[in-house]
């Protein structure tokens, strides 16, 4: 880091504090390190809005955030502190449930319903896409439910990695199947080749 970088970093901190005081900042973000690589994390006035695999935001997510909360999206480490702390505890195995509030309001009502069902799947448990669609009140909307899960803006905290295909194979994952495998491994041990047999699925 050059001397100019250090000076600008200090100036930025003061700027963001002023923007927050003036109500110009609506959403704060920062990049958080994780065992699965960097995560771009954004927190808005109603809670956690986005965790994106990578150091840059997803353009789609950013558009959704701007539509809901305007352009006042600023780098703000402090606003992300609570999320970063809970994620650290999760990675080290010390946390099974997240206490942070999530904000799914920028999503459609159907997406919100599907992700609310997903959010209730306990640590280490599995559920099928079909069961999520059923619990969200629409058995036939299996594909739409799978789409909403694939489009989950808050992976890890809304644990879409616990949703697998009906035959026990892992299905898909926005962060890559390797990330899904590692999350499930953290929660329930090594993933058997070909996934878990259907008997392992949650029945509730």
């Amino acid at each position: 880091m050059s001397e100019l970088d250090v000076v600008v970093a200090g100036a930025r901190e003061r700027l963001v504090r002023r923007a927050r005081r003036e109500g110009l900042e609506t959403v704060g973000y920062r990049v958080v390190d994780s065992p699965l690589g960097p995560l771009w994390v954004a927190v808005g006035p109603r809670g956690l809005l986005n965790i994106h695999y990578g150091a840059e935001p997803s353009p789609l997510e950013l558009r959704r955030i701007v539509r809901a909360y305007g352009p006042g999206v600023l780098p703000d480490a402090r606003r992300v502190d609570d999320v970063a702390r809970e994620l650290d505890q999760y990675w080290s195995g010390k946390r099974r449930d997240f206490d942070i509030t999530v904000d799914l309001s920028p999503l459609t009502p159907f997406q919100q319903k599907v992700l609310a069902v997903t959010a209730r799947v306990p640590y280490g448990q599995l559920i099928t896409y079909a069961k999520v669609a059923h619990n969200a009140g629409n058995d036939r909307a299996y594909r739409a439910a799978a789409g909403a899960i694939g489009d989950n803006p808050i992976p890890i905290v809304v644990p879409c990695h616990r949703v697998v295909a009906s035959d026990g194979t892992l299905g898909g994952y926005a962060g890559g199947l390797d990330a899904k495998r590692r999350l499930l491994q953290l929660e329930r041990g090594a993933v058997p080749p070909g996934g878990w047999p259907p008997a392992h699925m949650s029945r509730t």
Partner: protein
Amino acid sequence: MTHPATFGELLEQHEREIFAYALRLVGDRDDADDVYQDTFLAAFRAWPPPRRGHERAWLYKIATNKAIDRGRRAKRFVRLGDLPLAAPERDGVSLADLATAVKALPTGQRAAFVLRKVQGLSYAEVSVALECSEDAARSRVAEAMKKVKEAMR
């Protein structure tokens, strides 16, 4: 470079060069910090940028005006410790000599010189930043160059 959709993107894309520009104009780290703060807060308040693709020139225009405002209120000086930060990086001449010569320029010429020769803006961008014609931007830079060269002989 993508068009910024958020304050954060605008900030991350341009904060470094705007801070360096402010430092080159006002010569003091604390004043440059103030210009940086005033510039970005004004940009956030005035959002969205008036023309897509001209965000950079727009920021320079705000920063130039903020620096001139400050210059009117406070007597300008350069702290020796801030010279390496304030001085251009690309030139082979003595940084301190050059910084002194640039500092001696009238505000309009100094801004034009720094925008074109140090920050690397095109004449079209300089004209937007300084709210003048491209011809006026060219002549201000030329005039500034002449004075700087004379001062460094």
